[in-house]
């Protein structure tokens, strides 16, 4: 049976009066590649930010490997609205910080590349290994952790090798071509040893050729690192090609979900993307 690795329950995220995500529930099973699509401003990146602990949701809960990692018990005026809906399901507030969530083996990339720009590609990957280091600052300073340090460096090099970045390991990150920066960001995320990888528009700004290569690349890293992938993407050919299942968001609401064929033929989705023809016209 498929074990679900990530589960969002009734997630609502409000910023003041704006409802960015409205009652979103979704599941990602082990080893799947799931895409989250929707028009601009549908709340996809906000969903990522809720999962990774950047925002505390207004209501709802996130489970990772059946363990509650984020939940919110609504307070103040929100309580009136949500307490009834929840039936007392979420009675505590759990808010883990992004670094704690990364330690649970959830890694992410960013929509607008966020590399450590003035450091080398190698250092970028090496930094991601830091959180697994067991040495305290004093022993690290006095080089007492040299074995661990050597292992970290070897693993980082190995990762750069696998992702085809070994030739540019000493280049400054911001001087790399765009496609390689995207790859480096994924390499850096993989260095945190994730089980679940969240990719925020990995193909943004790539040409059709690079996008095509990305498909096999994502398949490759999934099997090599035994990953589950949740991806936000706008390139429909990539999404349809690669996804096991797709969730479609529009104005924060889940409007459809299913395998790629179902989504392709779903009238609501087509309407959301192309707009509903106005009957009153003529």
């Amino acid at each position: 049976m498929l074990r679900n690795i990530l589960r969002l329950e009734d997630i609502t995220m409000q910023f003041g009066g704006v409802v960015a995500i409205d009652n979103l529930s979704l599941e990602v099973n082990e080893n799947e590649i799931v895409s989250l699509i929707g028009p601009n401003g549908a709340g996809k990146t906000t969903a990522f930010n809720v999962i990774t602990g950047v925002y505390a949701p207004t209501n709802g809960a996130v489970y990772f490997k059946d363990k509650l990692i984020v939940s919110n018990f609504p307070k103040g005026p929100m309580k009136k609205i949500y307490a009834g809906q929840n039936n007392g399901k979420y009675t505590t507030t759990i808010k883990k910080t992004p670094d704690q969530i990364t330690k649970l083996n959830v890694a992410r990339t960013f929509q607008n590349i966020r590399l450590f720009k003035e450091l080398t590609a190698f250092e970028n990957v090496l930094i991601a290994k830091h959180m697994r280091s067991k040495a305290n600052w004093l022993s690290a300073t006095l080089c007492l952790n040299y074995k661990e340090e050597r292992k970290m460096r070897e693993e980082a090099l190995e990762l750069l090798d696998i992702l085809g970045l070994i030739d540019v390991k000493d280049e400054i990150a911001s001087s790399l071509p765009y496609g390689q920066q995207r790859h480096l960001e994924i390499a850096r995320a993989l260095a945190t040893e994730p089980e679940l990888l969240l990719l925020d528009e990995p193909a943004a700004g790539m040409n059709p050729q690079e996008t095509l290569e990305l498909t096999s690349f994502i398949h490759d890293i999934r099997s090599k690192f035994n990953l589950t992938v949740l991806m936000i993407e706008h390139h429909m050919d990539l999404v349809m090609e690669i996804s096991d299942r797709i969730y479609v968001l529009d104005f924060g609401k889940l409007i459809a979900s299913g395998v790629p064929e179902e989504i392709q033929n779903n009238q609501t989705v087509i309407d959301a993307y192309l707009g509903v023809p106005d009957d009153d016209e003529e």
């Binding site: 990774t52 950047v54 910080t97 992004p98 670094d99 990364t102 330690k103 890694a107 992410r108 960013f110 966020r114 590399l115 450590f116 720009k117 003035e118 450091l119 250092e123 090496l126 930094i127 991601a128 290994k129 830091h130 959180m131 280091s133 040495a135 600052w137 690290a140 300073t141 006095l142 080089c143 952790n145 340090e149 970290m152 850096r188 945190t192």
Partner: protein, 374 residues
């Protein structure tokens, strides 16, 4: 091959430096100015590197250096004033009984302990400052950039005000300051302490924690997504930086032999900031180099601008006391204009880098007359 060659160069440099220090130590009377400038320069190098650790490598714009230096200086001074002259130092308002008991206890410790006293005093000063840094770090490190700078600047001023307040008279001797502090035994001792401090910070920056600091400097959000606990690492950097600022403050007290609260005004922090900026924010060797250069030009090389200059019987105008600082400011302006990222930028000194710069200079001068190819 290449690394062993560089190692030999570095060893030669170390030996030459040591020989120079020995020479200066022996001929102290003749080269008094060089002696003073080198001592003060290397002491300021320690605090400049510590500020670079916090500001240049972790990206925390902290201006609290003078405050931490003051803590270090006063703790060191209390340790190192000879017990028999303590009453004399506190002649105005008397000594606090706690200090008296402490000093008599120090007197009763074994001799080997007393010979290590300068090192113990400096470490104690550093630890007290580190404790203060940990406490004020809790609220202050939540602030970003300019706000952090203002908050730490405020802390530094509060520290100075507390030290000179009448309520602290029996401990800090208020505005009279502390005198008769035991000095360094030799120039080599100063350099040895500074070398240990700076080496420690270099090793920290090159360790996995140093890389985490740089990650925070580059991008906080990405650093957090890489599992780096922002607050933990920021306070670690802040505490260690404050520790070494205080050690440097203690060394300054030992160098000057007498201190008062006025030594540690905001302008001291600005002097250090200036050294860091001139050397290059994010370059340790840059900070060391620039603290020696800045100290030397401020106290020594530009001195002749201060005394009247005669060409024949004509007295050149402007050459009078204070003109040196005008020249100094102009030099600074030029440096900031032409080396926007400081003398070293974010690079570190290396023999290969030196050779490269030298070759570039050589080819430039040989190409001057002829046509330039490529």
């Amino acid at each position: 091959m290449k690394t062993s060659k560089n190692l030999i160069y570095s060893l030669i440099l170390a030996v030459v430096t040591l020989a120079l220090l020995f020479f200066l130590e022996v001929n102290k009377a003749k080269y008094g100015m060089a002696y003073t400038v080198l001592t003060k320069g290397i002491i300021l190098a320690v605090v400049a590197v510590s500020m670079n650790l916090v500001t240049g490598f972790t990206g925390l714009f902290s201006l609290g250096q003078a405050g931490f230096m003051a803590i270090g200086a006063y703790v060191t001074a209390i340790f190192l004033i000879p017990t028999n002259s303590i009453e004399e130092v506190y002649y105005m308002s008397g000594v606090s009984p706690a200090i008296l008991t402490f000093k008599t206890w120090l007197e009763s410790t074994p001799l080997w302990f007393q010979s290590l006293l300068p090192y113990i005093a400096l470490t104690a000063g550093g630890l007290v400052a580190a404790l203060f840094a940990a406490l004020i770090g809790i609220p202050v490190l939540r602030l970003k950039s300019d706000y952090l700078a203002i908050a730490t600047l405020g802390f530094s001023e509060i520290m100075r005000a507390i030290i000179s307040s009448p309520q602290m008279d029996t401990i800090t001797n208020g505005s009279y300051g502390l005198k008769k502090i035991q000095g360094f035994s030799s120039l080599i001792q100063v350099f040895l302490i500074a070398a240990v401090c700076i080496t420690f910070m270099i090793l920290l920056i090159r360790s996995t924690y140093g890389r985490a600091f740089k990650a925070i400097r580059e991008d906080e959000i990405a650093a957090e997504a890489m599992g780096i606990n922002l607050f933990k690492h920021k306070s670690l950097s802040f505490i260690i930086g404050s520790f070494f600022a205080a050690v440097s403050g203690g060394m300054l007290a030992m160098f000057m032999r007498s201190i008062d609260a006025k030594t540690f005004t905001v302008s001291l922090t600005y002097d250090i900031l200036l050294i860091v900026v001139v050397g290059g924010i994010g370059s340790i060797t840059g900070s060391i180099l620039s603290s020696l250069l800045v100290t030397a030009s401020k106290e020594w090389w530009l001195r002749f601008f201060d005394s009247p200059l005669y060409i024949g019987s004509f007295q050149v105008p402007l050459f009078k006391t204070g003109f040196r600082m005008v020249i100094f400011s102009v030099v600074l302006l030029l440096i900031v204009l032409f080396y926007q990222r400081g003398l070293m930028g974010r690079n570190e000194f290396s023999w290969d880098g030196l050779a490269k710069a030298f070759n570039k200079l050589k080819s430039k001068s040989s190409n001057k007359g002829g046509s330039k190819i490529a």
